[in-house]
């Protein structure tokens, strides 16, 4: 969620600069590999920025390569879609949702405050 208001506090220890707003293309996701497990940052057609875990909870597929529509991303491999707002999954084959991360946009930069919840990584994928 874009939270320009909250950003008044400037960067805290919890906030990471992950990319510039110019790195994002409307309707597409950007995978941030420097974070482990990687996250995906999305710019919707309405200009909102969201961040969720990048790895699908079904198998090891990068959600940043998925299809964005109505504030959801459909996994590029199968048909499960995840809410960019809540991370919830709508239908099989994935059973679990993804974590969402708080996003702040300031001065053209995208900052993310990572969720402290445990990630729902797919079986066979471990955090390196």
């Amino acid at each position: 969620m874009v939270m320009l208001v909250r950003w008044a506090v400037t960067s805290t220890d919890m906030s990471l600069k992950v990319c510039s707003i110019d790195d994002l293309r409307p309707g597409e996701g950007l995978r941030i590999d420097s974070i482990n497990p990687p996250i995906a940052v999305f710019l919707t057609e309405d200009g909102e920025v969201y961040a969720i875990d990048d790895t699908c909870t079904h198998q090891d597929a990068s959600l940043s390569a998925g299809w964005v529509e109505d504030c959801r991303v459909e996994c590029p491999l199968h048909e499960s879609t995840f809410s960019l707002v809540t991370g919830q999954v709508d239908q099989p084959p994935a059973k679990k949702g993804v974590r969402t991360h708080q996003v702040h946009v300031s001065g053209g930069a995208v900052y993310v405050e990572l969720s402290t919840a445990a990630p729902n990584l797919p079986p066979g994928v471990i955090v390196a």
């Binding site: 590029p76 059973k95 066979g124």
Partner: protein, 400 residues
Amino acid sequence: MKVLAREGHLLIVGAGLAGYHTARGARLNGHTGPITILGAENRPAYDRPALSKAYLTGAVSESDLALDDPDQPLDVRWVAGLHVAGLSEHPLGVLTSDGEFWAADAVVIATGAAARTLPETNPGDAAGRPYVLRTMDDALALRDICLEGLEVAVLGGGFLALEAAATCTQRGASSVIVAAGEEFPGARRLSLPVGQALRAAHEAHGVGFASSARAVSVTSTAAGHTVHLGDGSAVAADIVICACGAAPATSWLAGSALRLSPTGAVLCDDFGATSIPGVWAAGDCSEWQSQSKGLRPVGHWQEAVEQAAVVAAGITGAEPQPMQEPYFWSDQYDLMLQGAGAIASADEVRIISGSVTTGDLLVSYLREGTEIGILGFNRLREVKRWRKQHQRKKAAVLAA
């Protein structure tokens, strides 16, 4: 088409992907009556694709592959380990191998397919039978052997064979030879560049390819196996994996009035209705009209899921979702291969970008100059976009 009463008994034969999704769809459409799923395998219904991939390497476990969600289980009576032996039209229902009759208001046949094997000489000899990959038991048997230092021959040129070859190599087999039945695996079906890219990827991992003739039989002795190819050549191996396709698991329907195809598939219209009212079929055991015409593929996961949803709609009287463009994927080494569209009817193939040696090939399939399909190696974004855009176009055409 006869719609099932809301409180009627829906009986599904086959506890696999299509069976699960039929039940799920019926519940989503508001069916309140009992749903029973009879399955021959003695374990909870599971998803097959990983059996030739992550399950075979040990990366995922049986519970990871369960179809039903333990947190949101379907309201369904699962009966495992029970073989269905016959179909009855009047009264409608099925007979199980324990002699029991299961009456139903609608029957869905979702028994999938069984692995094809080659003629064997001296089967059951000390070298063991060739392995197949269809069920979890099949995969478990292969997973339980230590492949280190062993020579493996994989028969078949489809994705199942190539995935098995990839996992055997990763698991330390001393050599893996694929008898693909063509020089470049997949070239006949998917075009030469795709076959070249697949062969190059496997050769880069040390996998070898036998001559382009098909494997015709296997001889086993205590010393090992010999695979005989159609051109007279032979491949010796400690382990043989037969991935030569699958045949519809419909032998239990012999003697019923149901119309079957020459290969034994249950013939259906494009709503999954069979020749017997109240009996439907979905997934690998069936052949829908558009599949008989060659317009849609058989044996793909996506096809089974969507057919199940269409059958669930037909049974409950809901509006079925139009089928999407055909779709399949395959996972080999670090390659994710995905194809979509009416690839079989293409008359021209163009490389859009990437190359056959760099693991990033993207090809377009055309018919009379119009793009009708796409296939990519590690091109998840492009393939998904193509599928969604075509789905939108289709929806727009249907709405017009």
